[in-house]
Amino acid sequence: MKLNELTITRARNLLEKKEITSLALTEDCLKRIEEAEPKIHALVTVAKDTALEQAAGIDKKRAAGEKTGRLAGIPTIIKDCICTRDVKSTASSKMLYNYVPIYDAHVIEKLKAQDYVLVAKANMDEFAMGSSTENSGFGVTKNPWDLERVPGGSSGGSAAAVAADEAIFALGSDTGGSVRQPAGFCGVVGVKPTYGTVSRYGLMAFASSLDQIGPITKSVEDAAIVMNTISGRDERDSTSAIMQYPDYEKDMKKDVRGMKVGVPREYLEQEMSSDVRNIFEESIRQFKDMGATVETTSLPTFDYALSAYYIISSAEVSSNLARFDGIRYGYRTKEYADLKEMYKKTRSEGFGDEVKRRIMLGNYVLSSGYYDAYYLKALKVRTLIKNDFEEQFKKFDFLLSPVTPTPAFKIGEKSTPMEMYVSDLFTVPVNIAGMSAISLPAGLSDEGLPINIQVITNAFCENTMFRAAYNFEQAAGFAAKPAL
């Protein structure tokens, strides 16, 4: 048995029964990393020595009969825009090529409190801007299912690593689909929690009003377990929800009989590959078979979500990324005559094209004379989209949609930014509306590429989301693995 292929549930079980050790589990993951990395390049930093140390430490703790955490000894991969104390965190940008945080993100503190093992930091699109991980400052990640294809993005490294069993699970971040879309391209489970559920403290900001950290796992149950660890109120993030946080594993295994499912027709009206369409329709049948009622519905503002998203997120980016000025940390150009030139060269050399494009776009939409026409209008559109979704959840327990219009595309295939942006079409509305959603495997395309579906639930209704997803996962029985 290759231990690195285990799910959290299974590994935890074996560890608790002392049938395996965390050291062995971690060693298997590291071995797999050595094999797979030359092919897929999912990782930017491998913390081999500390991982082995942590694993051995937890084994010792367990052997001594001490209480261990919920994720004790579980090898984990973290997206590189999530700050890990004393471990380089670059957001895959040359701008932060040497940045070692002196603090842990809130989610890392929470994982540490549950005795996790950090094995590596995952590659991503620079500062999470992109849908293919081609925008990384440190090289393209390849899809483990087909090395000529992208793993999706921006959490492409995290998704590819989990699909390739380089670890038991990973964390990504999702601003417009950056967890769900790569999970879809790599055939794993990815969750975008409701905005405010997971603290953004220590997550390098892309678009502050949209960013959420979410788990990428090998099963729905694993995702719920991770959510139980990383969610919760954090005083250091003012947007962190003040509420009684649910037990995400609770009621997950209850059946879905009688649940009401909405399928927005705007999704189906989009251009999509026949594989995606067929598998989605198959999924609808599956839910019906399980006793849910499925109805077509409508999200009239669907068409405006992508535009609003690119205006709002770019506006926030232009401001969030202004701090990378070469003064205090990170990259600074070698030669410069004065301050102005230092700024200009540092930022020109430190940022990639996509990041620069969004910074320019963001500055434009916030400029005097354009603010009302773009940014302010986008905020209004956002409210309408949110209202639209809320209306739906008066009628339905959850909405069902495909995750992407096509399976993973080829590296270099999307030649213009617009083509790339459109691949977020199905995921973006969820962020704009502040809802929760999960992307989970539903089948394979004719070419043998994974295709996921998306279960969307109302804000703070993740329990319903997990329940629907768990039931579907059990019924669909997706068990394919990439032949890497």
Partner: protein, 474 residues
């Protein structure tokens, strides 16, 4: 043609909260460079601001003191511009929905009372400081994230004198409510001036310029005089005043237009998505209102009505929280408000000025001043010796009785001893004595002065007067 100045101010005051506005770093002046900093105020990646509730409370107090409305809703916005001392390359401030709005302050100058409108008061963060040395520029971020309020006035001020009184009034109010130290020399109170001129009687405002880099009260007044003069000159020469930001050079005593690049900012304000709006319920606002202390204007009225002080004295005493508190402490122990007031107004203020001591650091305990007043009242020392003793108290911090003891300053009441001295002095000065006797009664003061001198001012002045007159009249 006669011209009228039209002036509006933007006053920045640092709030004296314990910690910074968005992190837990200490808010203190004068610490070693970059010691009051953390990942949040250094704007390291992934760090988030959390609004300090004390800042909101202090801002609301300031708004109440300056007669503002306190809306239930306000929010924080980002003001985007890049400079090394601004670690995020944006300042978190307030744009559309400030914490306080529409207030007014009543000021009194020689030509009467004036109501100065307050447009708004908002809260924001301060930037760090550039330190230039030996060819390098370094940044000290200690001040980065120190909370500020910006008080924006209507263009209601008409002279440098009004500006002076207005700033003093604002400063006194902020001190009284304990929200700011208002120390200009430490930069905790700063001020930009918007100024235009118009022919007297004209309704329409002239084109204004904005003056920056005004680091002291005197710089503000000099800059107003210079800039209004410059604008008048431009108009008289048939030119037009350009709307621009000008930098005050205090050494040259002139203002210069800031380079285009420095002022052509589009700040691209937008709501800060890292922070949630500020909601204040009526109840919360009322709790703050109930905690407001007596403000300078009310105090001044009370001093006039209850203590019978002159309007002038009352306004000077209430110009500073510290002199007012000191006065009240003294009156509690020595219930003669006028005598106390005289000492503070004349002797204390003179010593504070001469020594450059801040009224917050009065070195004479209130009890000691009362002790001194008691010594004079009881005739242990005479009043002019009292003034000497006060100077010593101020300089040494010693209690009055000790100084009187050590220096042997007790009043000489021994009539016989004084009589002898009087006789000696009359004898030694036959000419003035003859003058007196031939009708020049003023000559008497000469003898009194000589006697006082001979006794080092300690002789009981009443006795001296009586004896001198008696002997000369004989």
């Amino acid at each position: 043609m006669k011209y009228e100045k039209v002036i509006g101010l933007e006053v920045h005051a640092e709030l004296s909260t314990k910690t910074k506005i968005f992190c837990g770093c200490k808010n203190e002046f004068g610490a070693d460079q970059n010691t009051n900093v953390c990942p949040v105020c250094l704007s390291m990646p992934g760090m988030l601001p959390v609004l300090n509730g004390q800042v909101v409370q202090y801002g609301v107090r300031a708004g109440m003191a300056l007669g503002c409305e306190i809306p239930n809703f306000s929010k924080m916005d980002r003001k985007n511009y890049t400079y090394p001392d601004l670690s995020k390359s944006y300042q978190i401030s307030q744009f559309e929905f400030p914490l306080c709005k529409r207030g007014s302050v009543l000021i009194e100058t020689e030509d009467g009372q004036h109501e100065i409108g307050i447009t708004r008061i908002h809260i924001e963060e301060d930037a760090g400081k550039l330190v230039h040395q030996s060819g390098f520029s370094q940044v000290d971020y200690n001040r980065g994230g120190v909370p500020l309020i910006e008080i924006v006035t209507e263009p209601d001020l008409r002279s440098a004198d009004e500006v002076k009184v207005f700033l003093e009034t604002v400063k006194a109010n902020l001190e009284f409510i304990d929200v700011s130290d208002c120390k200009m020399q430490e930069g905790s109170l700063r001020c930009d001036v918007n100024i235009s001129v118009r022919p007297e009687g004209q309704e329409k405002f002239g084109t204004r310029t904005e003056l920056k880099n005004l680091n002291s009260f005197s710089a503000i007044f000099r800059a107003i005089d210079y800039e209004s003069g410059r604008q008048i000159e431009v108009l008289e020469d048939g030119g037009t005043v350009l709307q621009e930001t000008r930098r005050w050079d205090d050494l040259q005593g002139k203002s210069y237009p800031m380079r285009d690049k420095e002022e052509a900012h589009d700040y691209r304000y937008f709501p800060d998505p890292d922070l949630v709006p500020i909601f204040l319920t009526d109840e919360e606002i009322n709790v703050i209102r109930d905690s407001m202390p007596e403000l300078p204007a009310a105090k001044k009225d009370r001093y006039i009505k209850t203590f019978g002080l002159s309007a002038y004295d009352a306004s000077i005493l209430t110009n500073s929280k510290f002199t007012a508190e000191y006065f009240e402490q003294c009156v509690l122990q020595y219930p003669n408000p006028k005598a106390v007031c005289n000492y503070i107004m004349v002797d204390m203020l003179k010593m504070l000025n001469e020594s450059g001591t801040d009224p917050s650091r009065i070195p004479v305990p209130a009890g000691d001043l009362c002790g001194l007043l008691k010594l004079v009242e009881d005739g242990v020392i005479n009043s002019s010796v009292g003034k000497q003793v006060f100077e010593d108290m101020f300089k040494t911090g010693k209690p009055p009785a000790q100084i009187v003891e050590e220096k042997g300053l007790k009043q000489i009441d021994d009539t016989q001893a004084i009589h002898e001295i009087v006789l000696q002095i009359i004898k030694a000065n036959p000419k003035p004595a003859a003058d007196y006797r031939s009708g020049n009664k003023k000559a008497m003061t000469f003898f009194v002065g000589q006697v006082m001198k001979a006794t080092k001012g300690k002789a009981n002045p009443k006795t001296v007067n009586e004896l001198v007159q008696k002997e000369l009249d004989q």
